[in-house]
């Protein structure tokens, strides 16, 4: 009887120690986030492009209360395939990320400028989508972009003064450079091959 009691107590103590050890390990797990799974499905971007197009269409039908208060700096959206292919991945990523940053600033300004409430939802969607694209880029192991101190003087930019032009630039940028970058992403290439 004494032996049984001893055995039982030994087993219970061992189990308790094991549980405690597991809890401690989980708690003290290194805080680094685990690498994100790469988002290679372009349907996500297609969804963003569609919503940006809806915003552009809505802006075209807007008569009043939908104007930029001041000129904004926007990236160039022009793409020539052979020129694009000559750039390496880093340059491409930098180009895309700086352009996204510029667009975020411009859309934030547009959000404050536009008084038409119907457009507010579209603009909010577009801002949210830009942040999601940043997350997608992050998942593809593309380095974070450190924004410059001021937007002026950046190469490959130009300025627009109308809200319609801004949204058109927004759509064209997503359709062009962002998509090409995601299409050629290295992380996605490994999955495909």
């Amino acid at each position: 009887m004494i032996f049984n009691v001893n055995f039982f107590s030994f087993v219970s103590v061992t189990a308790g120690l094991l549980a405690l050890l597991l809890i401690l390990l989980e708690w003290t797990r290194p805080g680094l986030p685990s690498p994100l799974r790469p988002i290679c499905d372009l349907r996500v971007l297609n969804h963003f492009i569609k919503e940006a197009r809806d915003a552009e269409v809505a802006m075209k039908s807007c008569r009043e209360g939908c104007s930029l208060s001041e000129s904004v700096t926007v990236p160039q959206t022009r793409v020539e395939f052979d020129v694009w292919e000559k750039k390496n991945a880093l340059e491409q990523a930098k180009e895309v990320q700086s352009g996204l940053w510029l667009l975020q600033q411009a859309l934030n300004l547009l959000r404050t400028s536009v008084t038409n409430t119907a457009l507010h939802s579209h603009i909010d969607n577009s801002i949210r989508n830009l942040l999601s694209i940043n997350a997608v880029l992050r998942s593809l192991n593309i380095q974070e972009y450190t924004p410059p101190a001021s937007a002026a003087g950046l190469e490959g930019t130009w300025s627009v003064s109308s809200a319609a032009d801004l949204l058109q630039v927004h759509v064209n940028f997503l359709r062009g450079k962002v998509r090409l970058l995601l299409l050629d992403a290295q992380a996605c290439q490994q999955d495909v091959s």
């Binding site: 959206t77 793409v79 130009w158 359709r175």
Partner: protein, 501 residues
């Protein structure tokens, strides 16, 4: 560098001088980033004319540098003056060549075809392409269309087996990143689907179901075959059975048949229809009056006739052999008419009669010492008889049990009556005689048992005693359903029988 075709913008203005060529140049102006100037970064593109169907002309200009995702302003000048201008995005107006190398093959399954093609060789646009596969049978004009996205093969399903199909493919950009117009249809490819084959499961199931249904219908038919036979082939009643030999022997000659059979066959038809309601029988015993004449043995039919019911009087022949027919008569008279000692007595009387030949007269008959019982269902006759009825006591009483219901029962049932006991009893106590003038014998050779039925009472009695012959008169007694303990005294030889009243 891919080739881009610029469609002719406006046909009408260029058609009024069809014979000469126009020097048309296109100024392409690209939206500049620095200064939104019209002339900056603009380039000229020489046009090439291509004749198309319907008298149309296509002006084609090859672009050296294609800038996409940016607005392009196009201006068409003729002889220095602008005739057209338009702004567009190049990636949104793609018109591609149709897919090449369209191949159609069989997948190995019923009603399926595998279509594969080579997409247009454009970089970065493979997953933006949308295909339409048109398949139609060779004879019909209307075809069906299947859409495939971002893939270069498609399996057509639901096709008719064993038919030839024409398959074509065309392509378009899906319109999200790139957009454009439908390409021309590829060259049609003809392919025949696999021939139809019998599905084993369906065939076996059909066989089983048909077998089950046939079995069921046969079972139903067989179970109702009598009903069906009656309905389809109804039996036409013929009188052949009633008239034996009428058609077979005499060929339908009724008179001949009557003459030959001497009416004796009257018995047989009635025998076969026992359901006729029996009425009181006239039981006559027949024997030859002349000693030389040996009366024929009573045919067995006579006994049966006793139980038969007829509305009219019926004669029963009896032979010399009285005992047996009497017994048969007794047996036949299932009213329970029992004459146990009576038989012996009657036989004695018969013998006595034979020894003393009877004159053929009614009175002699009546004076015969034979017992006779006549059952007369005719009330009218009985009423006449009632006048001459005298009471008499007889040494021999005939008691019988009868049931009223027996009168209306069939022959087969009469035999079973003996075992039944009714609530009442009836008896007849005496015999009676017809007065001479009232009795019409059927003919010589008959002994009669006269019975008078007043409708209420029935009396059966033999002509019991020789000494009573002369004085016996006919009378009727009460037909009582009771124990004959009261009323007229019963002779010693009466037998109580029971029966329903």
């Amino acid at each position: 560098m891919s080739i881009y075709q610029s469609k002719n913008i406006n046909n009408s203005t260029l058609q009024h001088s069809p014979m000469s060529e126009f020097l048309v140049s296109i100024f392409l102006v690209f939206l500049s980033s620095s200064v939104p100037s019209r002339k900056e970064n603009s380039s000229r593109c020489p046009l090439r004319v291509l004749r198309a169907a319907g008298g149309k002309r296509l002006f084609i200009c090859h672009l050296n540098r294609t800038q996409m995702f940016v607005q392009m302003d196009i201006r068409v000048d003729r002889d220095g003056t602008q005739i057209h201008s338009r702004s567009l995005l190049v990636e949104l107006v793609f018109l591609l060549d149709p897919p090449a190398n369209v191949t159609v093959s069989s997948t190995g399954q019923q009603g399926q075809l595998n279509v594969s093609w080579v997409p247009p060789p454009l970089k970065y646009m493979d997953d933006s392409m949308m295909y339409e596969v048109s398949y139609t049978t060779a004879d019909s004009d209307v075809g069906q269309v299947e859409v495939a996205r971002a893939c270069s093969e498609l399996i057509l399903r639901g096709l008719q087996p064993g038919t030839k199909y024409k398959v074509r493919v065309r392509v378009k950009l899906d319109g999200i990143s790139y957009s454009g117009y439908w390409s021309a249809w590829s060259d049609p490819v003809f392919m025949e689907t696999l021939p139809a084959e019998l599905d084993l499961l369906i065939v076996s199931l059909t066989l089983i179901i048909s077998l089950v249904l046939t079995g069921l219908s046969l079972a139903i038919l067989l179970s109702h075959r009598r009903f069906l036979v009656k309905k389809i082939w109804p039996t036409i009643p013929t009188p052949d059975s009633k008239f034996q030999g009428l058609f077979t022997v005499y060929g339908g000659n009724f008179q001949e048949w009557l003459g030959r059979t001497n009416g004796g066959l009257w018995l047989t038809p009635a025998f076969f229809t026992p359901e006729e309601c029996p009425s009181p029988l006239e039981v006559l015993s027949e024997f030859s009056l002349c000693p030389s004449l040996a009366s024929p043995p009573l045919p067995p039919k006579a006994s049966k006739a006793l139980t038969r019911s007829r509305k009219e009087e019926m004669d029963v022949r009896k032979g010399l052999d009285e005992r047996e027919p009497l017994e048969r008569v007794d047996a036949a008279l299932t009213e329970g008419w029992r004459t146990t000692t009576h038989d012996q007595w009657l036989l004695d009387r018969l013998r006595a009669f034979h020894r003393n030949p009877m004159p053929s007269s009614q009175s002699s008959l009546l004076e015969s010492q034979d017992a006779y019982v006549t059952l007369n269902a005719n009330n009218r006759n009985e009423d006449e008889h009632l006048d001459d009825i005298l009471e008499e006591t007889l040494p021999l009483e005939v008691l019988f049990a009868s049931r009223k219901t027996v009168l209306c029962e069939s022959h087969s049932d009469l035999g079973s009556v003996q075992q039944s006991s009714g609530s009442g009893r009836l008896s007849s106590q005496s015999s009676f005689e017809y007065p001479n003038h009232m009795w019409m014998p059927k003919g010589p050779g008959y002994t009669y048992m006269a019975v008078a039925d007043s409708g209420v009472s029935m009396d059966y009695s033999p002509m019991s005693r020789v000494e009573d012959i002369g004085k016996v008169v006919i009378y009727a007694n009460e037909y009582r359903n009771e124990i004959p303990a009261h009323g007229r005294p019963f002779p010693s030889r009466q037998h109580l029988v029971s029966g329903d009243g």
